[in-house]
Amino acid sequence: MDGSIAHCFHCAEPLLAHGVREAAIDGEQRKFCCAGCEAVALLIRDTGLSDYYRVRAAPALRAAPVSDDLSGWNSEAVQHAHVRSNGSRREITVLVEGIRCAACSWLIEHAMLREPGICAVQVNPATARATFSWDVQQTALVEVLGALQRLGYVPHLPGAEGDAAAVAQRRTALKRLLVAGLGMMQGMMFAEALYFGDGGGMDLATRDFFRWIGLLVSTPVVFYSGWPFLRGAWLEWRLRQPGMDLLVSTAVLLAWFASVVETLRGGPAVYFDSALMFVFLLLATRFLEQSARERANAAVDVLARAQPQSARRVQGDAVIDVPVHALATGDIIRVRPGEAVAADGVLRSQLGAFGEALLTGESRPVQRSIGAPVLAGSLCLDTAVDVEVTRVGCETTLAQMVRLVERAQAARPRAARIADLIASRFVIVLFAATVAISIAWLLVEPSRALPIALAVLAVSCPCALSLAVPAGLAATHARLAREGILVVQPDALETLARVDRIVLDKTGTLSSGQMAVASVQMQRGFPRARALAIAAALERDSLHPLASAFRPFADDAISAESLHTIAGVGVHGRIGDSVWRLGSAAFTQAEAAADLDAVYLSDEHGVVAQFAIADSLREDAVQACAALRAMGIRIEILSGDVAPVVAQVAATLGVDRWRARQTPQAKLDAVRAMQDEGAVVAMVGDGINDAAVLAGAQVSIAMAEGAPLAHAAADVVLATPRLLALPSLFGAARDARRITRQNLRWAIAYNAVGLLLAAFGWVPPWAAAIGMSISSLAVTLNALRLALPAGNRVAAQVQAQAPLVAQVAP
C-alpha cells in the first residue's frame, strides 16, 4: 500500500478531502472514509476482533467483466422505490440469489468491503437479503451489484421480480433433491448387495458389475445434485476463504474419486453409498432451511406487497390510472372499496373506514373523517374515498416500516458474527485435524484411513454452529413483525432478554394522546347532554387539542354562529338567542374557587357546566402492566404531567413507583440512577420528545403512532397502538435467548463429541453424514419454534397472577 496517500483504515480506500472520520483503534488514531467504515471498525474493536486488521489479505479482487446486464437497476423506478439516500451515501437492500449458508454471508461481507466506495455491507443468510451502502462520489449502484456478481451471487429486487427468481431457485433445488434421493435409494440397493456379497460367494464379475452400476448412479448425484456445494467450494477456494462448502465438497469428491479408482483397479472397497448419502442428506437439510427462510420472509413480503403498483388519480372530472411512482404530493387519488391506498395522504371525503391490520396489527376497521391522515397500504372498506397525497414512494409510513424490518433482518448482531468467525476458523482447524488423523491411521491401520478421514470431515461440519444464531433471529423477527413490533437495532433482542426494569412515559405511551371528557359537573340544573352538545358546537372548527374531546358529542340540531376563538383562553359563539362561552375560569366568569385546569361553559347568566378533560389510558394498559409484572419486570412511570394525574394513572395500573413533573433531564438522571443500582432499563416513550432519555436507557422502545418512523431514535419501534405488544416483545426476546443458547450448546457439544468419536474410528462415513444433517436440522427446527405466537402464554400468565385483570379480559 502506498504510504504517501492516506487510506481508510477499514476499507483501504484513498481518503477523500472531505468526510474523513477519526476514531481510536487499539490506542492509535485511525482515519475512515465514511461513517459505515468507522462503525464497522469500532464494532470489530469492541468485539475484540482487531486481529482482523493484522491478518487480512490486502490485494483486491481482479475485476472480471460483468456478464449479466445490470442497466435495469439504473431505472428511475428502482432508484425511487428502493434506494435510500443520506448525504452522498446511498443504501439498498437486495434479495441475493445463491446464499446457501452462513459462510456465503461472511464471504460477501468481507469481499464487498474491499470494493471502492462501498461503506457498509450487511448480509443475513437466513433471509437471503443484503444491505449495501455506498458513496455516490466513488461508485454507482451498478458497480456495487457488479462486484456482487463477480463473487458469484445474483442480486434481485425484493418484490415481484425476485419472486420469479425464488420460484426458479426452489424448483431447481427440488429437482436436485429428488435426483439425489432416488439416486441414493438405488445406490444403497447396490451397495447392500455388495455388503452381502462380501460375506462370501459373490464372484468378481458380479461384484464389478455392481460397482459399475454404483458409479453410474452416483455420478449424476455428485455432479448434478451436488453442484451447489461444488460451486460454493470453488468460490471459497478462489477467494482463499475456506468455508462449509469446501469441507462438504472435499468429503464427497474424496469418497467418489476413491471409489472410481477402486472400481477401475478392483480394490477392496468402494464408498459410493457414503457419497450419495452425504449429498442427499445435506441437500434435504438445506432445502428445509430454505423453506424456513421463505416462511420468515413472508411477514416482510406481505408488508412490501401491501402497497399497490398503480393508483387512480382524479384530474378534473376524469379519473385515470397512473403507476404509483408517477404520483406526486398534492395529487388527489380515488380509492375504491377493497383497494389499498397507494400513498400516505389526508382524507378528502367526509368519512371512510379503513383496515390497517397489516400496518398496526389492529384488526378492527378504523373510522376516519375528513382531514384525517390515511396510510399507504391500508385497505379501503365500505365506500370509495378521495385522498390527497402527502407522501409518496419511499417516504410513506409503509415503505419506512418495510425498510426498518429489512434493515433489521439484514443486520447481523454481534453474536452471529462471532459464531461465524468461530465456524470459519473451525474449518481450517478441521482440515488440519483430518490430515493428522489420516496420517495417524495410515501408520496404524492403512485400510481404515480413508473411511475415517471421510467420517471426520462429514461429522464435524460446523453448519449447525453457524446456523444457530441467525435461524433464531429470523424466526423471532418474523413473529414480532407480525405483531407490529419492529426491532431496529440488531443487538437489542439480546439486551431485551435481560431487562428487569421498565420506565414508561405517560402521555403518548400509557395514554393514547387522545383527549376525552373525564368528568362533567352540572350547575343550575342544566341538562348534561345539551351542555356537551353546545360545547361540541362551539369547538366545531377548533384545532386546539382539547377540542377533540367534545367531538363525539356533536349534535346536528345545534349549530353555533359567529364563532370567535381567543387564543389561550377559549371560544365564544351564538347559539339560538344566547351567546355561549367555553374556556378557562376567568374567561367564563366562573366563581373564585374555580379549578384552574378545568374547562367551563357559560351563557349570559353564568356558568352551567364544568368539564375535566384528560387524555384516556390505552385500553390494554392495565393488562399490559399486569403481564409485565408477571414476568418479573419492575415498572416505573416518569411523566412530565402534574402529580394528581400521574398518581391516578399509577393507581389504576397498580404501579407504586412514579414521579411527576419530570423534565427530560430529570428522567435521564432517574434512568442513570437505576442503572447505577445495576438494573437493566428499558425506556418506553413516544420517540420524539424523549429522545435523550431513550438514548440513555439500555434498550429504548418507541411508540411510533403517527410519528415519522424513520426519525424515531429507538432500538425497537412499536407500530401498533397496543401496549400488550410490550410483554409479548420481552417474552419473544427471552425465548430467543433461551433457544439460541440451547442451539449453540447443542451444536458445540455435537461437533466436539462427533469429532472425537470419528477420529477413533467409531463412526462409519454413512452415520457421519446422518449425524451432520440431523444436527443442522435440530437447530433449524428448534429455532422455528420461536416463530410461533406467544399470545396464549402471556394471557395465561396474566390470568394466573392477576385475577382482577382476568375479569376485564374477554
Binding site: V167, R171, K175, Q186, F190, T206, F209, L216, V217
Partner: protein, 59 residues
C-alpha cells in the same frame, strides 16, 4: 445371476422414468405452492363469493 442383467437395467430405466416425470411436474409448477391447493377446495369460488357479498351488502 443372469436375471440381474435384465432386472438391474429395468430398475435403472424406472428410476430414469421417475426422474423425467418429476422434472416435468416441477417445470409445470406442480410443486410451487403446496399449501393453497389443500385449502382451495373448501373455499367458495370467486363467482359464489361475489353473489354472497351482494346479498349481504347494505342497501
Amino acid at each position: 445371476m443372469s436375471s440381474l442383467l435384465i432386472l438391474v437395467p429395468i430398475s435403472l430405466l424406472l428410476v430414469g422414468l421417475a426422474v423425467w416425470a418429476f422434472f416435468w411436474a416441477t417445470n409445470n409448477g406442480q410443486f410451487d405452492d403446496l399449501d393453497t391447493p389443500a385449502v382451495s377446495a373448501i373455499l367458495d369460488d370467486e363467482h359464489d363469493r361475489a353473489t354472497a357479498a351482494d346479498k349481504h351488502a347494505p342497501p
